[in-house]
Symmetry: C2
Subunit: 187 residues, 2 copies
Amino acid sequence: MSVKQALLALLEQGPRYGYQLRTEFEQRTGSTWPLNVGQVYTTLTRLERDGLVEADGADGEGHVVYRVTDAGRDEVAAWFTTPVARTQPPRDELAIKLALAVTTPGVDVGTVIQQQRSATMAALQDYTRLKREGDLDLAWGLVLDSLVFSAEAEIRWLDHCEARLRRAALERPTPVATNVETPEVAR
Amino acid sequence: MSVKQALLALLEQGPRYGYQLRTEFEQRTGSTWPLNVGQVYTTLTRLERDGLVEADGADGEGHVVYRVTDAGRDEVAAWFTTPVARTQPPRDELAIKLALAVTTPGVDVGTVIQQQRSATMAALQDYTRLKREGDLDLAWGLVLDSLVFSAEAEIRWLDHCEARLRRAALERPTPVATNVETPEVAR
DNA sequence: ACAGCCATGTAACTTGTTACATGATTTT
DNA sequence: AAAATCATGTAACAAGTTACATGGCTGT
């Protein structure tokens, strides 16, 4: 749901053609969320279908230039003024995974947590290396920071989960460690 | 991509029918990510198509019970042992929005940030209220904590953005405040 | 009798995504 | 001449989501 708005926002700065939009999107967000060119064209088609943009023939060179309509401008304005709703956040795969792991017999939650932490810390290192080496513009820098912040939060949460589970194991001493056999589940 | 795996993981604890799967999923994740019953059935159909589950006639009562196949069990095992990849994280709408806001003339980034912070802090309060009032099981509690951690990280990032932008405004004194007119863009 | 939950499903749609085809222009 | 990049598109599919239809059973 964000590619649509992003393209609209870019088009509000002036008419653009498809390929150009991909380039500018990636300029601002780095290689974080690579945007397939094909998706730009499909999205533009759908935006046109919904009356948010209009194709505008040539631009001197043979480029298929789009510009935003009034309705499109309204959309962008609404997007910028309305905060991202946390009422129905996108499903967090990691949270779901752990929630299910702690209630699935035969799954060693400790290992799941440890492996995830390794992976996340590796990602964190990549981010900081990028910050050091790359000379990034403002937007791309902020996006990177956002990744850093959320990766750090993820690690903190993983630590918290470990502590929480240790505590739960003490209170209700279910001997998880003895669960060596193959789980006798689902037949 | 996580509903599929979640249903599989639940089915590994024993044969279930559709409605039951919805109930159990929501038990573990609370009302955080409500799961439409319809989606359970469509997902089950697709899982069966892919050979990961099998329908298993009756269960005594007229329920359409599914059980996981060997291939399905492999899938679950792989899901639990492979960390969630951060190489291509889902697009973060807020990060994209701010990245575009800082480079779109006529958009007051300060306002965007402030409104988002209000919304996120309100969500944070909801989470802590839920933790206080509700008596939640382990999994649902951890999911809530995950929401808290990531909301906190979001607020920290927003603060960081504000500081970063103030610094940028000082260095390169573009008088953003004078940008009162309607943006002359896109015609 | 009626409301509400249990239960199963289908049709239709949106968004995201990849793979492929095609050709022009530019660089090596 | 070959490789890479620019540029536009289409077909097909995956995943999520909603709206609707249908019927049984339960509690008031």
